[in-house]
Every structure is written in structure tokens, then in C-alpha cells.
Symmetry: C4
Amino acid sequence: MPPIGRTRWAIAEGWIPRDSSFAGDRALMSHETACILNAGERDAHVLLMIYFSVREPAGPYAFTVQARRTMHLRFDDLTDPAIPRDTDYSSVFISDEPIVVQHTRLDSRKAEIALMSTTAYSQD
Amino acid sequence: MPPIGRTRWAIAEGWIPRDSSFAGDRALMSHETACILNAGERDAHVLLMIYFSVREPAGPYAFTVQARRTMHLRFDDLTDPAIPRDTDYSSVFISDEPIVVQHTRLDSRKAEIALMSTTAYSQD
Amino acid sequence: MPPIGRTRWAIAEGWIPRDSSFAGDRALMSHETACILNAGERDAHVLLMIYFSVREPAGPYAFTVQARRTMHLRFDDLTDPAIPRDTDYSSVFISDEPIVVQHTRLDSRKAEIALMSTTAYSQD
Amino acid sequence: MPPIGRTRWAIAEGWIPRDSSFAGDRALMSHETACILNAGERDAHVLLMIYFSVREPAGPYAFTVQARRTMHLRFDDLTDPAIPRDTDYSSVFISDEPIVVQHTRLDSRKAEIALMSTTAYSQD
């Protein structure tokens, strides 16, 4: 039985609010996350591309999700280049091992947080 | 390796609240968005149909998502015809190139925003 | 090109809050919805079964989604039997024509609404 | 016609907030749920593994979803071991019968609840 997952994933939504009601609290600051599960027995080497509406894509960003581990990657942690705030983007993940990707935004522009989440689109 | 995505997408949910607590702020006004990623090397020509509960569909609306770009299409930006508020609708996208579609609603009928999002249904 | 959609859909989540901050306002009363798109040229005849945690399923509920129309079915509108509040349930839709189903909850137990939505699970 | 569902499911997102504005109210306490539908005629025996970012997986947790029943499994009800709060995790379900899994978080760190939900990723 092969490990669960696929090797290519896309998240069409992407937008990190510049504003946060809780700017000093990392957990409650407005942010978007890609939760990446590697349930297999081999480390997964992942390349991430970021697509924008009016300029060339950024990336690839390269990282490793270890075997039998999850990585909750915050898009506001990406550097070189950083993702601009209040800007439309999308993301594509390409892995050498099967992974599972889920997208989440925590939005705290207002005093009460709002959440959204979805399993990303996958394809081998 | 073909570009990631599929050529037909459907979003069964659709409902743009007439009311907004932040009517003067475009980003916080109640709205629904179709985020459309074209990660491929060719422009995608997309036709959008809008389905209603008690009348004939509207469209097709035609637009282009450029190669290696994302387009975050707000349904309240559609014209000729515009989509009525407080009205049930659904949408179908047909593209000549593979794309990925994700649906989002920001609802600000109340003073705190609510969010929801899902990868749309796809089929070639 | 066949119409978009599949003939069987399942929503594993189901829970209608008994409480609402806006009990007199149908749109803002806590509720769950199955948004059902029939983008095809023939009416879809749909059977809905409701599954519970500690008793036999209810249904089938039978209804028609007309050709080229969407139906946003509120689970709190089901009768004979009605779905109890504050009770875990799941739902399965079987159609004679391809349809697309998306699940949404609006939760107004508190003074600010919360939303969640997902494309349902599909299979022919 | 086989029962609807698949035998393997993954939820990449996982994070149970330690804080709740309604700590004394089980329904409104911050929690995550896996809603599991078994619409078939045979009981489903399910093994659940929990994956973390910096340590070995926990599990398998074993449970049964009876035929023609739904189970809304709260991750904060797991014991031996319990899932730590404010900690990234992911989950994988393996069943001997087809099931359907949907993931939900109710977040009440703030006085107004936030919700998110998605159909999990599935594969046979």
C-alpha cells in the first residue's frame, strides 16, 4: 500500500491581510498556512512556487518535510522574497514523495478572528 | 508533466449578502470570490456561466487568465448582467487550459467578518 | 461533453445549532445548507438519506433539481421527519443526473455569525 | 453499487487551541472534529494515526463506526495518549470499509466563535 497523498498540489486562494488586531501575538496575527503531511517513510523534498496577478511567479522555495511528520508552513514566514501583504496570490507545491496539503487562513483584521480552510487541489 | 489543473470547475454555493457593515471598504464589503490559478505556459480563455434557482442561467462571461498568473475574480464585479444580491446562485467555469479554482466568501453583515472557502469541484 | 457533476454525494458533517442570536431572521438563523447545482439539460431526481449516530437513518427524502438550475436546500426545511437540533448527522445524495453539491453552515449561536463551507465528497 | 466512500483519509490541518472563551460548555469549547460517515451495511473498523512536527506519530487509535451510522469524533476526546493543545498535528484514517471523513474546527479563543470545515483528502 503506497503512502497516502499526491505529488502536486495547488491552492488558488492566497491573501495575507496587512492588518491584525493582535499584531503582537504570532498565533492570532492574520496569516495563511499550508499544512503539509508526509505520512510516508521517506523525507519529502518540496518545491513551492507563488503566483501573482500582475507579475512573474516567485520561487521555487525549497524545503523538506521529514518522513512521518507534518509541517505547518506559514506563508508569512517565507523570505527571499517575502510575500507582500494585501496582495492576491496562489501557490503550487511539487514533491518527490506523496504528501497531503490543506490551506487555512486566520483573519484578525477585526477584533474577532475568522477562519477558513480547505483541502488543496491535488494531481500526480 | 502537464500543467496542474482541470478544464471544468463548478461552485454550487453562491450568495452575495446585500448588507455589509463596511460598505465603503471594498476589501471588507460582503463578497464572493473565485480564485483562479493558471500555472501553465499558455493563456487560459475561460467562460463562466451563472445558474439560478428560478430563472435561466446568465452568461457566458468571457475572460482570460494569463499564463503563470492568478486571477481573484469577485462575483460582485460581474456586469452585463450583474449578479443580484441576496439570491441563490451557482457557477461553472470552462477553460481551454488547465486551471485551479477556489471559492471564498467574506461576509460582513455583522460587525465581525466571517469567512468560508473551498476548493471547487473539478472535472475534465 | 457530459454535464459537470457526479451522481452520488456525501456530507459527513451535520449539526444544526438549536440556538440563534437572530431567531426571527431566516437568513441569519443558525442553519446548514446543501447547495445543489444541476447544470445539465435534464431534471435531476434526487434521493437524500440522513444518517445519525445512535439510530436508524431517515429518508429517503425525494426532490427534483430542475435542468439548468441550482437548489439551495436548507436541512432545517426538511419535514417528515424533521432533523433534530443539536444532533450529529451526515447526509448522502443519490441523483439520476450529474449534480454538484456543496455544504455550508451559518452559525449564529453568538452575536457574530460564523461560516464554514466545503465541496462535498462525490463518487459515481 | 458499492457503498459511498473510500478506505483511507487524511487531514493535514490539526491544531486544538488551548484557550476557550466558553471553557465550561463542551459544545462551544475550542475543538476539532473528524465527522465519519459509514453509509454501508457493515461496521467499519478504523485505525487513526496522529502525526506531529517534531516527534514520532501517536497511535493507532482503534474504533468502530457502525453500519448506517455517523460518528463525530472529537480529537480532544482521544486518550492514551491525549493530543497536546496548541500543537501542530495531522491525522490519517484507515478503514476496512468505505467511509467519508470531514474535518471541522470550532475556535472560541475569542468571545465570538470561528468555524472552518473541509472534506478530507481520500484515497483507496
